[in-house]
Assembly symmetry: C2
DNA sequence: GGTTGTTGGTCTCAAAAAGAGACTAGCACT
DNA sequence: AGTGCTAGTCTCTTTTTGAGACCAACAACC
């Protein structure tokens, strides 16, 4: 519940009294708690590429439940990263596309995704090493 | 459980048969599923600043439970982002510090954190707008 | 010498979140 | 008449998270 204003201190390196920070207004946590979901980045990545319909996204990410797809899309829409348009076809189809805000977010975010791809081997190696030292 | 190799297609824009992708080896999801936790980025941010002891981190992030602090730190250590050192003081103290791999990850990650700080207002505005149109 | 405090955890139980799958309505196609 | 498509919702179960008690060993205090 409480939100901790930590980034100011961390990013500029200056110390300050932790007790005086505004616990209810930490931008980083407020924003990150949403995009840090299991499916959020995946859907942002897809929609950064091009707009998709609900069913297309479901097929693109086969192991997401419809429930979570609906919910994650609505969360992303609420935060302004994507927009939803209903077409009066029969049956009605819904298209999701990225907004300017979403694209702006995806720019730095894609760098992290890139890092993940490039350093996957190192991470896997670290895991093996850790697990070996664990069972000792 | 299944892991979907999506990023290759997304990042270079080329289409390919979704069925042939290796569902068990998606770097982006494998790496991101860990750092996307609620507490991971927060702890990485703290440790990017300087090493901390267990109790210091707990005080720094008051609304984390000891259980989740222990678990998140161990996960981050397992993936090679941080390392843990026990000092033979009485009672024994434990210091956590970032590794080179962790610092390498935090470089692109900090850009996202920065974005969050800069665009917090836009996100909050989008939420208000969304909630207003909801109750209509 | 008994109480209290500190260290970094683990354990248990309750609450919240996520996954699985059935179900919906309206229409199109066969 | 039956089947399938659309984008969801509803319910139930399983997993994850949170809250808080508990632990051992020692130090400092009174």
């Amino acid at each position: 519940m409480a939100i901790y204003l930590m980034e100011k201190r961390m990013l500029n390196g200056q110390e300050c009294d932790t007790q005086t920070w505004d616990m209810g207004n930490c931008p980083v946590r407020d924003v990150l708690d949403r995009i840090a979901g299991k499916w959020s980045t995946l859907l942002l990545e897809a929609l950064a590429h091009k707009p998709y319909r609900f069913g297309e996204l479901r097929r693109l990410v086969p192991d997401i439940s419809q429930r979570m797809l609906t919910q994650t899309l609505r969360d992303l829409q609420r935060d302004g990263y994507i927009e939803r348009e209903v077409f009066p076809t029969k049956p009605p189809s819904v298209e999701y596309r990225m907004t300017d805000l979403g694209r702006s977010l995806f720019e730095p975010l894609s760098k992290v995704l890139l890092w993940a791809g490039e350093n996957h081997a190192s991470v896997k190696a670290a895991r093996v090493k850790f697990d070996e030292s664990e069972l000792a």
